[in-house]
Subunit: 387 residues, 2 copies
C-alpha cells in the first residue's frame, strides 16, 4: 500500500503555481503595474447584461440550479446563431453550456480520453489544455506550429507537423484559431487540410474558437462545417462580451458527443451559474451587446497595432496576444531572471514554458488594462527586449 499522504501520480507530477519568485519582486515595486500576463479585458460588460441588471422579480428562481446542459432557451438561441453563421442545421441538443469555455472543453477531454490516450495539441498552446488532458489521465503531445522558431509555411507542412506525432494512441487533435498565444489565425486552407487529415484517420477534432470575434484583418471562418460529425467547437461568452468572471461558455458538436460531455459536466461542476447563463442569453438578444463587440474589436485592433509598432513585431491577426522569443535577452539567470527584471519595472508576463516547450519565450496580452496603461507597459517592455 502506498504511503500516506498519497495523491494521483499524474496530478502530483503537474507543475503548481509558477509565479512566486516574480510576485516577490513585484511586491518591492511601487509604480504603475502592467498585468500583461493576464488574458482578460479592461472593458466592463455592456449595461443591461450585468449582475445588477438581474432581479429576482424579473427572474424568479434566479439563484437556483439550471439543467446540467444549460437553460433550454440559451441552448436554442445558440443553436440558431450557429445555424445562421454556418448555414448548417443545428439542434439545441448539439449545444452544451459549460461553466466557462474552460469547463466546456474539459468535458470534451473527459468524454474522449482513456488513460494513456494521446491528444495532439497545436503549440504554443493555451496553458490549460495540456494539464486538462493530464487531469483525465491522457497524454498531451505538443505539435510545434505557430512557434517563433518552428512554424509550417503551407497546408502540407501543417498536416505533416501533426502526422509526424500521431501514434496508435492518438484519439484527437486540438486546434485553436484565432490563436492564443501567437496572435495568428489559421489560414482556411490549412484548417481544411488538417480537418480532412484528422477525419480520414478517425480522430476527433477539438476546435477552440473562443477568440472568434477578434480578428483584425480577416473574418473568422468557423471550422464546424468542415466535418460536422467529427468536430466539436468551443466558444466563450467571457471573451466575446467581457464576462470572464461569469463562467459561461459552450460547445457545439454531434449530439452523441454532447450527451457524453454532459455526463462529465454533470459530475464535475453540475451546471453553469444561472446568472451567467441569463447574462449570456441577454447579450445574444441585445443590439447594444453586439455594438459592444464591434467596439471592443476596433479598440483591440488599435491597441494591438500600436503595441506591435512599439515592439517592432508583426501586427496581431487575431486574439489579444503576442508570443515573443526573448532568447537574445537572457543571461545566466535564464527566463526567470528576465521575468524578474520585468517585474522590477512593474511588468508581468506569462512564461513560455506554460505554453509548451518554449523556454525562451513570453506571452504578452494587450487588452488586460486600459489602452494607455497597456501602451506605457509596452514602451517599457520594448526597452527591456532591446527593440
Amino acid at each position: 500500500m502506498p504511503e500516506f499522504p498519497r495523491f494521483s501520480s499524474s496530478v502530483a507530477a503537474m507543475p503548481g503555481a509558477v509565479y512566486s519568485a516574480v510576485t516577490a519582486r513585484l511586491a518591492q515595486y511601487s509604480g504603475e503595474v502592467y498585468p500583461l500576463n493576464v488574458g482578460d479585458t479592461w472593458m466592463e460588460p455592456v449595461e443591461g447584461c450585468r449582475m445588477e441588471d438581474l432581479t429576482v422579480r424579473e427572474n424568479p428562481g434566479l439563484h437556483r440550479y439550471t439543467p446540467p446542459a444549460g437553460l433550454p432557451e440559451l441552448r436554442r438561441a445558440i443553436a440558431q446563431q450557429v445555424e445562421d453563421s454556418t448555414s448548417l442545421a443545428t439542434d439545441p441538443s448539439e449545444v452544451l453550456i459549460g461553466a466557462g469555455a474552460t469547463a466546456a472543453l474539459s468535458t470534451v477531454v473527459g468524454a474522449l480520453v482513456d488513460p494513456g490516450d494521446e491528444v495532439l495539441i497545436m503549440a504554443p498552446y493555451w496553458p490549460l489544455i495540456a494539464g486538462m488532458v493530464t487531469v483525465f489521465r491522457g497524454v498531451p503531445v505538443a505539435v510545434p506550429f505557430f512557434s517563433p522558431t518552428d512554424a509550417p509555411t503551407s497546408a502540407e507542412e501543417a498536416v505533416e507537423a501533426f502526422a509526424r506525432r500521431r501514434t496508435d494512441r492518438t484519439v484527437a487533435i486540438y486546434l485553436n484559431t484565432p490563436h492564443n498565444p501567437s496572435g495568428r489565425v489559421l489560414p482556411p486552407e490549412w484548417a481544411q487540410a488538417l480537418v480532412a487529415w484528422a477525419e480520414e484517420r478517425g480522430l476527433w477534432i477539438l476546435s477552440d474558437e473562443v477568440y472568434e470575434p477578434f480578428t483584425y484583418k480577416t473574418v473568422h471562418i468557423p471550422l464546424r462545417p468542415l466535418a460536422p460529425e467529427q468536430i466539436v467547437t468551443i466558444h466563450s461568452f467571457s471573451k466575446t462580451y467581457g464576462m470572464t468572471g461569469n463562467r459561461c461558455g459552450y460547445l457545439v458538436g454531434p449530439r452523441e458527443l454532447i450527451a457524453q460531455c454532459n455526463k462529465i459536466g454533470t459530475h464535475t461542476y453540475y451546471c453553469a451559474p444561472r446568472a451567467g447563463q441569463i447574462s449570456a442569453f441577454k447579450a445574444l438578444q441585445s443590439p447594444a451587446a453586439q455594438s459592444w463587440v464591434s467596439e471592443a474589436r476596433e479598440k483591440y485592433a488599435q491597441v494591438g497595432t500600436k503595441a506591435a509598432q512599439i515592439l517592432g513585431v508583426p501586427e496581431p491577426e487575431g486574439s489579444t496576444f503576442f508570443f515573443l522569443d526573448v532568447a537574445d535577452r537572457l543571461d545566466e539567470r535564464g527566463l526567470t531572471g528576465f521575468l524578474e527584471d520585468c517585474a522590477d519595472e512593474g511588468i508581468l508576463l506569462a512564461p513560455g514554458p506554460s505554453f509548451g516547450p518554449f523556454p525562451t519565450c513570453v506571452r504578452v496580452c494587450f487588452t488586460c488594462a486600459e489602452p494607455a496603461v497597456v501602451l506605457r507597459g509596452f514602451e517599457k517592455l520594448a526597452r527591456l527586449v532591446g527593440r
Copy 2:
C-alpha cells in the same frame, strides 16, 4: 485503431438521463406539480446577497476572473469561520473555493484517484459521487449504510461495513452527514470510529457536510478535528444560503492536498464565478443572512415533521430528504411503473438506483417547493404508497 466515433470507455458506460419515460407521463398531467425529486429550496436568498445587489460601481471588475483558488478575502473569512467552529487553527491555504460544492468535491476525487483506485462510498449516496469517481477513472464501491434494509446499529458495525469492502486499491472513504438521501445524521461515536479506522489504514477521508446547518434534533459536529491531516470536508453556500445556482462551495483540508485540488480545479473550470463568491462573502458577513439560515432550519424542520407524519415514517434528523423503500407497492412494471403512477398525479421522485443498489427505493425532498405545495404532494404520495 478503434472505430469512430469512439468515447472514453468508462464514460460511455455511465448511464445518461433516466427520466424520459416519466417526463412523457408528466406532460399529459395538467394539475399542480410536485417536483419532490429536486434537492433545492423554495426560499430566495436573503436581500443584500442577491445578484441585483452586486453593482459594478461597488465591485469594479465584478465580471472578471478570480484567482483559481478563490477570492483571498473569501478564503480568509472561511478559514476564520472554520477556526471558530472547530477550535482548530485554520489557514486560508487550507481552504479552496470551487464552482459549487460539486466542483470542489470533484477536485478532491481528481487529486486522489489513479485509474482503478477504489473509493468506499456510504450508500445510499448522493447521486453524483459514484459518477464523479468514474469520471476520474476510479472505481466507486458502495457500502450499504443508511439503507432502509441494511444499516449498521453500532460504531463497530459501521466500521465493519467499510472494512469488509476495503481492498489493496482502496484510497479513500466518502462520508456524508447530515445524510442525503436518508435524512439521517452520523452519530458522533460512529464518525469517530470510522475516521480512526481510515486514518490507521492511510486512507483519505472525504467528509461531505453540505447540509451542516440543517439538523433538527441535534447539532452537527464537524468531522475535521478528528483527523485534520487526513480529512477533507466539503461545504456549500448553495444549501446554507439558498444559492444553488450561484455555483460556489468550498473545501477545507491539509494545505498539500488543497494545492493538488487547485490544479484539478484550474484545469477543469478555472475558477468559481466572481458574483457567486462575492455573494458568499456578503452572506458570511451579514447578520440577516445568519437569521435567514435559522429561519430556513425552522421551516424545514416544520415541514419535515409534518411530511413524516403524513407518510408514517420517522422524522428526518437532518438534510432535506426521505429515502423510502416502496418494494411492497411495485407490480410487474417495477420501479419505473411506480414512478409513472406518481407522475400521473403530478409527483416527481428520484429513483433509488441513482443512489446505489436500491432498485425498490425512492428519494423524496421536502424543501423543493412552498411548504403548502410540498405537503399536498406528500398527501397524494401517502395514498400511492398505501400509508
